[in-house]
């Protein structure tokens, strides 16, 4: 049986506080008792939006099922299932009780602008069966990479390095914008074998990964597989920003390792 070892690393844009990080990342390891599958999700909230961090983090938490106690079921990976779930997410975002404390400027921006987030949600299925696989949905330029034996075997969505930053797709908070956007929803998937690594990265980091894979693929995937502490990730990001290879933006990296062995040690970063 395949197990997953998942970790999420993030770093706010250089010059901003960590509290100003406006992405979201979440994962759920699966539950054999309830039959719920393994899920992972990453979202990137729009810098120009209002409540973008809250929106991105609500989307990923809802997708992996972290909101089940509040009566919100995670969505099925179908257009119909996602449509209804996104509508529920929009309603919850607009009815957030914290908005009662908004001042006039905040009320104006909430009403007139709202927010928007790129989104990638992935489910791993049949991990104890004959055909383990991953299935994912995506809106925008948050990207999943599947790596096998240090080689990239799948990228979803398949965005070229030069095309990052020009993709207007994402999940809006405005109800009237949802239907049109869902027509642009992308669906992908692939088989999964022991030792595969899935990475999900927001746009700036994903662009760097696409570029680096083309010129130094062995080193790239070795470095990312070896990340073992948030500080190591932040050092990598800071170094690449200083060298000009990585654009200065919020970055998030979710790594999911598919393995058949249980970990020998449990490491908790404090």
């Amino acid at each position: 049986m395949i197990h997953t070892q998942m970790v999420i690393y993030y770093s706010a844009k250089h010059g901003n506080d960590e509290s100003e990080w406006e992405d979201g990342g979440a994962c759920f390891p699966g539950d054999p008792v309830t039959g719920r599958g393994t899920r992972l999700a990453v979202a990137d909230g729009a810098t120009q939006g209002f409540g973008s961090a809250r929106w991105a983090q609500q989307l990923v938490a809802g997708f992996v099922g972290a909101d089940r106690d509040a009566g919100v079921e995670p969505p099925a990976l179908s257009a119909r299932g996602l449509h209804g779930w996104f509508e529920t997410m929009q309603t919850r975002w607009h009815q957030d009780p914290r908005l009662a404390g908004a001042n006039a400027l905040q009320k104006l921006k909430h009403k007139e602008v709202g927010s928007f987030a790129t989104f990638l949600g992935c489910e791993l299925s049949d991990l104890d069966g004959p055909g383990p696989r991953w299935n994912a949905v995506a809106l925008g330029d948050t990207v999943l990479f599947q790596v096998r034996n240090n080689n990239l075997i799948a990228q979803f969505p398949a965005i070229a390095a030069k095309d990052f930053g020009f993709n207007p797709d994402g999940v809006p908070t405005r109800p009237e914008a949802l239907a049109g956007m869902l027509e642009r929803l992308l669906v992908g998937g692939g088989d999964l074998v022991d030792g595969d690594v899935l990475y999900v990265a927001t746009d700036a980091l994903a662009q760097w990964m696409v570029e680096t894979d083309q010129r130094d693929r062995g080193s790239l995937w070795t470095v990312l597989a070896g990340l073992d502490h948030p500080d190591a990730f932040r050092t990598l990001v800071a170094d690449r920003r200083r060298s000009g290879e990585l654009k200065n933006d919020d970055v998030t990296l979710l790594r999911a390792w598919a393995v058949t062995t249980r970990p020998a040690h449990l490491v908790v970063c404090l």
């Binding site: 250089h14 010059g15 506080d17 209002f50 973008s52 905040q106």
Partner: protein, 286 residues
């Protein structure tokens, strides 16, 4: 020419300065708006300041983010001590202040009142007001640029890695104090645009208002066809950085490479659009 690629952040904020002509000719009615040039210009300035505050408003129970330091300076009639001169155009709690961090600006309008729509629709909306319409006396533009130059010099020294200061001059007339302290208007502008951060020299843009109905010329790439004082203002205006050219195109302007930050004979709604293009610093790297 700098790179003009630095995005704004808490540690590397941007700087926007508006120079507002308050000379006597600003009392003329602005084409078919039914309002004076001074009223229209103040309305546009208040709109762009509100726009900047809204962009930096990101969450409930969180202050406006300090992504810009903002100044508005007027030349012509003074309010603080009656007569001709240059002063901060802010009133109320910000009276006399030079560059003000955006959160402080958002907290300190003179008042909140019903103002007409900028696009001439017959509607009003309550909005904060930081600058009132004023007109009188002549046009001491050199003195204004000298004062602003001192402010941006200090600011650039304190923010060496920021996007360079953006200075936008809104005027309807000819300079009346050139030469000032031995330097002509062109020389004062050269001094101003020699102030630089590591990301590039200060940008100086000009908007010329006309009371008469006339064809708008926005972001020209050459001075040909501009009536006086268009060619002079063209020579004073900085080239738009590539990111701003892209922003202008997205906003519907037909902008050629090497276009200057100059708008001529613009109406009120175009004035606001020009201010939006000119104050839109990258929020993320291009």
């Amino acid at each position: 020419m700098g790179s003009y690629q630095q995005s704004v952040s808490r540690s590397d904020p941007g700087c926007v300065v508006i120079l507002l002509d308050r000379s006597d000719s600003m009392k003329l009615l602005w084409a078919n708006t039914g309002a004076t040039l001074a009223e229209g210009a103040a309305l546009a300035v208040n709109n762009i300041l509100l726009d900047m505050c809204i962009k930096a408003t990101t969450e409930v129970n969180a202050p406006v983010r300090p992504y810009f330091d903002v100044g508005v300076f007027s030349y012509g009639a003074r309010l603080s001590t009656p007569g001709e001169g240059v002063e901060s155009a802010f009133g109320g709690g910000l009276a006399g202040r030079g560059l003000v961090p955006l959160p402080e600006l958002a907290e300190n309008p003179i008042t909140v009142r019903a103002e007409p729509s900028i696009d001439l629709m017959s509607v009003t909306a309550k909005m904060p007001v930081w600058v009132d319409p004023v007109h009188g006396y002549r046009t001491p533009m050199c003195e204004a640029i000298a004062l602003v130059g001192a402010h941006v010099f200090d600011w650039a020294g304190a923010h060496p890695n920021s996007f360079p200061p953006i200075v936008i001059n809104i005027t309807d007339g000819m300079v009346t104090d050139s030469p000032h302290e031995g330097a002509t208007l062109i020389e004062w502008v050269k001094r101003l645009t020699s102030v630089a951060t590591n990301d590039g020299p200060t940008l100086f843009f000009n908007v010329f208002l006309s009371p008469a109905e006339a064809a708008e010329i926005v972001f020209p790439a050459h001075p040909g066809g501009l009536p006086p004082p268009g060619p002079d203002l063209f020579a004073l205006s900085s080239e738009l950085p590539p990111a701003m050219i892209e922003n202008a195109r997205v906003d519907g302007f037909d902008v050629q490479p090497r276009a200057r930050g100059l708008a001529f004979n613009v109406g009120r709604s175009t004035l606001l659009k020009v201010l939006q293009v000119g104050t839109r610093v990258p929020d993320r790297p291009s």
